[in-house]
Every structure is written in C-alpha cells, then in structure tokens.
C-alpha cells in the first residue's frame, strides 16, 4: 500500500501560519546568504555578528535603526496599499526624491523666512504633492493606455535621480559649499526637531505611524478599501461589481506616491538639512520598502514591525561597509534572497500538505 503526498488549498491562511512562515523564510534566507558569503570567502557568522551588533547592539545603533525605519515605514505603508490593489508601484525611490526636491524648494526658495510652524507643514504638504505627481504620471498611463507600470515607475526613478543630481551640480548648488554637490543648508526653522541627542526626527516618525494606522482602517473599514481589496483579489469580480478600476489605480498611486514623497521630506529636513546627490539622500529606501511591504503581507500595521527590521538591516549593511569594506549593494543581496523566500513561503502557506493512503478499492 502506497502513500501519496497531495497539496490541498487552504481556505484561509491564519495569522499564526503567516507569522511562522515569515520567520521560517527569514531564517532560510539568512542561511542561503550565509552560504553566499562563505563561497566568496567571508566568514558569515562574523558578518552577521557585526551587522547585528551594529544595528541593535548599542543605544547609538538602535537610534540609527530608528532613523532608517522612518522612510521605510512611510514609503512601505503606501506600497502595501498599492500592491494590495495589484498596482505595481516600483518607483517609490523616485517619488521619495521628488518629495525631497519639493521640500528643498519650499525651505530655500519659496518661503525661507517663514516660521517653523508654517514652514514644516508646508514642506510635508509640498513633498506629498510632488511624490503624488511623480506617481500619477505612470498611473495615468496605466489607466488610460494600459502601459506596464513596473517599467514606467522605474524609469521615473532614474529620471528623478538625474534631476536631483542636475539640481545639486547645477542651479541649486550652494554658494557656501566649496564645490561640493550640495544645496545651501536649510534655515533653522526648516530643520525638524530631533529626539534627544539622536538623529531621530520624531515628527516624521509620528506621521509615518499615523499613516500606517489610517491606511489600515481605510483598507479594512471603508467602501474605498473594499474596492481596493476586491480589485486585488479578483479583478474580474471587481469589474462585475461595477468597481471603477481607473479610480482605484489613481487613488492608490496618489497615496503611495505622496507618502513616499513625505519620506523624502523627512530625509532632507530631518537628516541632511540640504539637498544632496540622489544616492546621498536615499540609501535605496524606496526599493527596500518593497520588501518591507511584502514581508508584512501588505498589512500596513505589520509594516511598522518589518520597517524596523529592515532599518536594522540597512544599519548593519553600513557597518559592513565600514568594517569589512563590503559594497553598498550587499543590502540588495539580502533584499533579493529574502524576497524569494517570502514569495515561495506565501505560495506554500496557501496549501497544506496532506498525506493519505492510496485508495485500494479502485
């Protein structure tokens, strides 16, 4: 008598299964990455030890992790929303940069003499608008002409990067910056307050947590959220239910672009206090936010946890750069492998493995 393995589709994936599957996939991903390090001649445990102690092992490390959590959380919440509707906004990095440009424009050119209570909210609003505009262009092309938004949003990233670099090497280059590609420094009123002696610009952190909560409730409790969920889970059903797909595409892109733009405001107003070259403003936050959103299984509240984890990963990556002279791109290795494993585990958790005896009567 033989036994057979069969995959059976689960009706519902319980949260416990999700969390366990996430942990298992994270551990497996770290093992595979360890193997890669081993193969290229690095001691993986040494690498991990340095990363962990760099990110979580000291008060300074923890505060730096929190600094990097902020943009990941802000952008990740928006991406979780967009991906929920199966709208592939891969361009958060560019939307973030355009938010940074808008904030710089407000702080240095539009109203440099305004008091902080006007200047700071205006920067965030301007950043939201700039990020939203950068996202609305591909959204419009998708809604109207069905162009592939993965490619267009990504092309908008490259264009935004070149635009930022153009500004800091060209028209916005600061007079007092000795030839460095920096804009002038922001006026004091445009610099976000910090938490104690750390670099944590808490206004942005609070805004990001608020964004996570608000988006969560909008997705779960409103008619609009319902339309997004139906569109993402079953596009055909959405069409029959009379859901306007154009509206869904435009609104999720507007919000995810806007939030990424606000993340960019936080970086220039909270961390750098000036516009710099694109790679200086963002350590690929917009791309890492994609994995942050997926690891949270597109749940905006879950993003709070995963953004913190990946904030730590980025700080750990910085440690490796300094202590082992590893390239910045090392983080992409982590991002890619972790994403593979989340993706595979997501498929596997949708099924359960059933062992059953071969039916002998047939």
């Amino acid at each position: 008598m033989g036994r057979r393995i069969r995959f059976e589709k689960r009706a519902v994936v319980s949260p416990t299964v999700s969390v366990v599957a996430n942990l298992v996939s994270l551990i497996l991903a770290l093992l595979v990455i360890a193997l890669v390090f081993r193969v290229i001649g690095l001691n993986p445990w040494e690498v991990y030890r340095r990363m962990f102690s760099g990110a979580f092992g000291s008060k300074y490390g923890l505060s730096e992790t929190l600094v990097k959590t902020i943009p990941l959380l802000m952008a990740g919440v928006g991406l979780a929303l967009a991906f929920r509707a199966l709208v592939w906004n891969i361009g958060a990095e560019g939307q973030l940069l355009m938010g940074a440009v808008a904030a710089t424009w407000v702080a240095l050119f539009a109203m440099p003499n305004a008091p902080a209570w006007i200047l700071i909210p205006t920067m965030f609003v301007a950043g939201f608008i700039a990020g939203a505009i950068w996202a609305i262009i591909p959204a419009f092309l998708k809604a109207k002409y069905e162009t592939n938004e993965v490619i267009t949003t990504l092309m908008m990233v490259y264009i935004a990067e070149e635009f930022v670099n153009y500004l800091v090497y060209g028209p916005w280059k600061g007079a007092a910056e000795w030839g460095f590609p920096y804009s002038d420094k922001f006026p004091d009123a445009a610099q976000l307050p910090l938490w104690g002696t750390t670099r944590v610009h808490y206004p942005t952190l609070i805004l990001a947590i608020l964004a996570a909560i608000v988006v969560y409730f909008m997705v779960q409790r409103t008619r609009w959220g319902y339309e997004i969920r139906v569109t993402g889970e079953n596009p055909t059903a959405a069409r029959y239910a009379g859901i306007d797909s154009v509206k869904v595409i435009l609104t999720v892109m507007l919000i995810s672009g806007g939030l990424a733009g606000m993340a960019g405001v936080g970086e220039v107003a909270g961390v750098h206090h000036r516009l710099r070259v694109a790679q200086g403003i963002s350590a690929g936050y917009g791309f890492t936010a994609i994995i942050v959103a997926w690891l949270a299984r597109l749940n905006p509240l879950g993003v709070i946890v995963t953004a913190f984890l990946f904030g730590g990963l980025l700080v750990g990556g910085d440690t490796l750069q300094v202590s082992l002279q590893l390239p910045v791109a090392t983080i992409d290795l982590f991002n890619g492998v972790i994403l593979f494993f989340i993706l595979a585990s997501e498929v596997l958790t949708r099924y359960k493995i059933v062992w059953h005896a071969e039916d002998l009567s047939t």
């Binding site: 890669v36 290229i40 592939w88 891969i90 092309l141 002409y145 069905e146 162009t147 592939n148 993965v150 490619i151 267009t152 990504l154 092309m155 908008m156 490259y158 264009i159 070149e162 635009f163 670099n165 153009y166 090497y169 060209g170 791309f287 994609i290 997926w294 002279q325 590893l326 390239p327 910045v328 791109a329 090392t330 983080i331 992409d332 290795l333 982590f334 991002n335 890619g336 492998v337 994403l339 593979f340 993706l343 595979a344 997501e346 498929v347 596997l348």
Partner: protein, 308 residues
C-alpha cells in the same frame, strides 16, 4: 549635420545597442512562452561580473562570454522554479532576481574595480565586404559578438515564426491549456525559454564588461535590463523588430556622449534613454491595442494543470 559625423555616430550605435539586443532577444523568448521575467537587469549584471572575472583569471575573453551565458541561465532557472513550479507571482520574483543580481555582483566584483582587462575580443574585419566604403565600417568591421547577435536575430526569428518548435513556444504562451491537451509539455517549454532568456541576458552583460566598456563598474548595467524589457514590448515580441529598437537606444547612448561637449548638463542627457523608454512603451502599447497582436495572451499567468 556633417555626413561623416552622422555616419560615425551610426557605426557607434551598433556596439552601443548590442547589449540591449542580446537581452531583448532573450526576453522575447521567455515572454513568448508566457513567462514575464523582470530580472533581466540582475541577470545582465551577473553576466557582466562573471565575464569580467573569468576573463581576468583565464586570460580568455571567450571563456568569459561562455561563463556569463551559463550564469545568466542559472539565474533564470531560479525565476523559472519560482514562477513555473511554485506558480508564484512573476512580477515579484523578477524584482527579487534583479536585487539578488545587483547585490551578488557587487560583492563578487568588489576586487575587480579599477582592474584592467588582460585580453579583449578581436575585431573581425571581414575581407572584401569590410573594404566597401561607408557600408564596410557600418556592417563588416565589428567584434564577433555583434555578428553573433545579428545571427541570433535571424535564427531566433526564423525558429519562432517558421518552424514547429516556434509554433509550440507561441502556443504555450497563448493558450497553455490547449497546448497541454495536444501533448506539449508546457512546463518544459517554459523552463527552456526562460533559461535561454537568461543566457542571452548574461551575454548582453558580458558584452558590456569585456567588449564595450571594457571594465567592471558596480551597477554598470545602469537600467539596460529594464530598457530591454521595454524593448520587448516595442518589438511586439518579434526578434526582427528587436534589432530596430536596440540600435535606436544604442543611437541615443552615442548621442549622449556627442552632445556633452556642447555644454548640456550630463545629468539631463542621462535622462534621455529613460524618457525615451516611456515614450517607446507608450507607442508600442498603443500599437498592440490597435492591431490586437503581439502580446502573448497567457503572459505572466501561471499554468496549473487541471484534473484529467
């Protein structure tokens, strides 16, 4: 513009467009079989670092090119496993592949930065034909990989449109259930096409690091893989039309260098290919809709065998 200047620019556009051509040809086969692989950038950059490293250690650029194709194929098989066997989301898997490739190549290549290449591919000046004025330099004085890419355009286009295996590939991409019912092994066809796609992306990367540049620079593909994905659509999934798109973007790359001395900001010039990608994508999408041709109907949709 001076005819001579125009002609030299045109000649330069061919090698500049060749990496796009390899990668686009590969992606056309993958997509024709129904597999969307957004990992082209990652496979290309892994091809680039592999080719450079292999050439550096063996002194033989041919081995470098070969190794790049193999590594590209291996990279693609990860995507094939996740999207064909596990039937997971192809968009996300492709993105993961791109990130993985960028990261791994950065790590592997960290010792190659600033190292000169010991050997290069020869240029083949084809006798008689290469001596024809104007046309000789344009078509018959390139490196062997340019000829390989042109040969691949013909062979891959012929196979896809005029042979049985080509019909099989296209039917798998259009209607896998029908193909399956007719006895085609859908999974096998998709695996093979995806892996061919990866090998060609690897070749495209090798061309960048051992022929065109030639050097290893971290992230040196700089979006070329994404441009190839857009070119796949622009080519309406035809290897013949891929040639046109690839050389168009090669031309833009040459234009960037030619316009820089005129005092235009290099940052603004760098935007050109990316703006053009959006324009080209828009034009092609319109054409696909008007003519109702091109896009494989089952593209990006995992195939699940029904109960028999």
């Amino acid at each position: 513009m001076d005819v001579h200047v125009f002609w030299t620019a045109l000649i330069a556009a061919i090698p500049a467009g060749t990496p796009y051509l390899f990668a686009t040809l590969g992606e056309i086969y993958a997509e024709r079989s129904g597999i969307l692989n957004l990992g082209v950038e990652g496979m290309m950059i892994m091809g680039a670092v592999t080719a450079f490293g292999t050439t550096l250690s063996t002194g033989n650029p041919w081995l470098g090119v070969l190794a790049a194709a193999i590594v590209g194929g291996l990279m693609a098989s990860i995507h094939a496993f996740i999207s064909i066997t596990l039937r997971a989301n192809q968009t996300v898997s492709g993105l993961a592949l791109t990130m993985f490739g960028l990261g791994l190549s950065g790590l592997i290549g960290r010792r190659y930065i600033g190292t000169p290449l010991p050997a290069r591919l020869p240029r083949w000046h084809i006798p008689v034909l290469g001596d024809i004025p104007l046309l000789g330099p344009l078509f018959f004085q390139h490196d062997p990989l340019v000829y390989l890419s042109l040969l691949l355009v013909l062979v891959m286009g012929f196979i896809l449109f005029y042979t049985r295996p080509g019909i099989t590939i296209r039917s798998v991409g259009e209607s896998p259930a029908t193909a399956d019912a007719m006895g085609v092994n859908v999974f096998l066809v998709r695996y093979v096409c995806t892996i061919i796609g990866g090998m060609l992306a690897g070749l495209g990367g090798a061309y960048l690091s051992v022929v065109y540049t030639p050097a290893w620079i971290e992230g040196m593909t700089a979006g070329a893989g994404w441009i190839a994905i857009a070119l796949t659509i622009f080519a309406l999934w035809s290897p013949f039309r891929a040639l046109l798109g690839a050389y168009l973007f090669g031309g833009v790359k040459v234009l960037q260098y030619r316009l820089q001395p005129l005092g235009i900001s290099p940052n603004l010039l760098n935007m050109l290919p990316f703006v053009l990608t959006i324009v080209v994508l828009l034009a092609a999408t319109g054409e696909v809709q008007r003519k109702r041709i091109g896009m494989p109907a089952a593209l990006g949709i995992p195939y699940e065998r029904g109960e028999k």
